[in-house]
């Protein structure tokens, strides 16, 4: 199905800060929004939702939400977007159920039902609680549930799960991943969203620094210094080969070669998983090393090498089959090994993570 896209070309001024963004956001799947705080992530979401006075154009399909040259500014409640705010913003005069019904009553084409979201976000025991009694994580779950009830064409999620514990977060993220609603997802935790976001948008100082497929963005060596919060690394698509219950290990196939990771019983043999490998957990060798505690040695080709000036480090990108790994090594080793783009290398992977 060819998807619509949200066409955006806006400037918004807020005191000394200004946001300038021009992009076409395809309306399918999850788009992660990353960047340092104060970089404009929240302002971008608020501009799309219609809460900030912006100049320029925003259009979805043929529908103009904003066209300042024609004095068009569609009111926020008419835009088919759903917002989850950083601070939840539940209605204090209603209980949890009342907050959900507020949204359900106003949904025009009936998105999810109240029963759906209550089950998905495990709100059954909270329904009759006043919102003032909820913990931060509970508030965020109710706020998310409330927004999922609207018939939004686009969800704008501003760190919606920041107060939740890891396990709960993983459950909710996999639920969100399976929804057919496109979303813009602001998060500070790259591991949280990198695993499920198809696209990533990097914002810094109110400007779009990068926008594209998450894998490519994470591999782009030039923007890693801007974003700062990024823990450099790559996403790898891997197939589960087998579990070894005795040593609690799972064998994965990465680009035709095997790596071994701490066992994840969530996955069955044959499943595909996305695995995040941090650059600092990858070392390089020019010959296959022997007698090493690191079990994961992948042979590949060096396809990019960036020596950071005034820094001890260099970032290397290695192609393993159809997958990429990034390695953070010292400039001294890069020179000693005589690394150059195109040569064969061995990537030593100390560890990797997959959350679900």
């Amino acid at each position: 199905m060819p998807s619509e896209s949200l066409e955006l070309d806006v400037t918004a001024k807020l005191g000394a800060f200004d946001l300038e963004a021009a992009l076409a956001l395809p309306l399918d799947g999850i788009t992660a929004v990353f960047g340092p705080s104060g970089g404009g992530k929240t302002t971008l979401l608020r501009t799309i939702a219609g809460f900030e006075r912006a100049r320029g154009r925003i259009a979805l399909g043929g529908e103009r939400w904003l066209d300042s040259s024609r004095r068009i500014h569609m009111a926020p409640h008419r835009r088919p977007v759903g917002c989850v705010f950083q601070d939840a913003r539940l209605f204090g005069h209603l209980d949890v159920r009342g907050n959900l019904l507020f949204a359900a009553r106003r949904a025009r084409n009936g998105g999810a039902t109240v029963d759906d979201v209550v089950a998905a976000l495990d709100l059954g025991s909270l329904l009759h609680r006043p919102v003032a009694d909820l913990s931060g994580g509970e508030r965020q779950r109710v706020a998310l549930a409330r927004t999922l009830l609207t018939d939004a064409k686009l969800l704008l999620l501003d760190e919606p799960l920041s107060a939740l514990d890891t396990e709960r977060k993983a459950d909710i993220l996999s639920y969100l991943e399976n929804l057919s609603v496109p979303m813009l997802y602001v998060s500070h935790a790259v591991d949280e969203v990198a695993l499920l976001a198809e696209r990533t948008l990097v914002l810094a100082d109110g400007r779009v620094r990068a926008f594209g497929a998450t894998r490519e963005i994470l591999e782009r060596l030039d923007i890693q210094s801007i974003t700062g919060r990024f823990e450099a690394g790559t996403l790898v698509r891997a197939r589960v080969v087998e579990h070894d219950p005795q040593y609690h290990l799972t064998t994965l196939d990465v680009g035709g070669q095997h790596i071994v990771m701490p066992m994840s019983t969530r996955l069955a043999a044959g499943d595909f998983a996305r695995v995040r490998v941090r650059a600092r957990d990858v070392a390089l060798a020019t010959a296959r090393p022997r007698a090493l505690s690191i079990r994961n040695v992948l042979s590949g080709t060096l396809i990019d090498l960036v020596r950071e000036e005034d820094s001890p480090f260099a970032e290397a990108l290695v192609e393993v089959g159809d997958q990429h790994l990034q390695a953070r090594i010292t400039r001294a080793s890069a020179d000693e090994l005589g690394l150059s783009v195109g040569q064969s290398v061995y990537a030593l992977v100390k560890s990797a993570t997959f959350d679900h």
Partner: protein, 222 residues
């Protein structure tokens, strides 16, 4: 005992409170959300009845409403009745006189609710009016109660403006405070005692209610 003044006072206070709820709510909402530079001027105008002697207010209202004035003559043409020295005139005067008691608590309540819950309501498809009715009003419930109670009580306690604009016409403009004044003038102290003690008790109870509301029902937007 003549119950006429008590009934009339209650009617005047009730009608004034209802009219001010209708007029004061939009004004307070506007003041709480506007960023215009004339806001301090409007706030000062709204607060004037707090500091002006009732005689000054009454004097200007008399000038404005008497049958020879533009407004007064229009009213006479429309209703055949005079605005001065009538119940209708008293309502207008009371609305002006009690305006700050309605607007100020409401403005504080609306400002306390802030924009955040309204944005949340808008993102859940509530129209601005819908968000006002189903989010801002319930979250400001305490402000509405305080404003209504204070407006009602302050109207009950008005004297100078009534005397200037309404005079002392039984069942038309002779409210409790005027009746007390007349009793004292005619040395009927026993009657004055009854009404005065009644007003004193009423005013105390009203203030007690207001302070209890403010203490016991904190409402927060999360």
């Amino acid at each position: 005992m003549d119950l006429g003044p008590i009934w009339l006072t209650a009617k005047l206070a009730a009608v004034t409170t209802l009219v001010l709820l209708a007029l004061g709510t939009p004004l307070a909402w506007w003041l709480a959300h506007t960023q215009t530079r004339v806001k301090p001027a409007i706030e000062a105008l709204t607060a004037l009845p707090l500091v002006l002697p009732p005689t000054v207010l009454g004097f200007y209202l008399l000038i404005l409403l008497h049958p020879g004035s533009a407004i007064g003559s229009l009213w006479v043409q429309a209703t055949g009745d005079s605005l001065t020295f009538s119940f209708s005139g008293l309502v207008i005067a009371s609305v002006v006189y009690s305006l700050p008691f309605m607007v100020q608590p409401l403005q504080t309540a609306f400002a306390g609710v802030g924009r955040a819950p309204l944005e949340a309501a808008a993102s859940l498809r509530a129209s601005p009016l819908g968000a006002f009715v189903s989010v801002a009003v319930p979250l400001s419930a305490r402000g509405f109660l305080t404003a209504s109670v204070l407006t009602f009580a302050h109207t009950v306690g008005e004297f100078g403006v009534v005397l200037m604009v309404g005079g002392n016409i039984p069942d038309e403009t002779r409210v409790v405070s005027i009746a007390i004044y007349e009793h004292v003038e005619t040395l009927r102290y026993a009657d004055a005692h009854v009404l005065s003690a009644g007003l004193l008790a009423f005013s105390f109870v009203v203030l007690l209610v207001v302070y209890s509301i403010n203490r016991r029902f904190p409402v927060h937007a999360i």
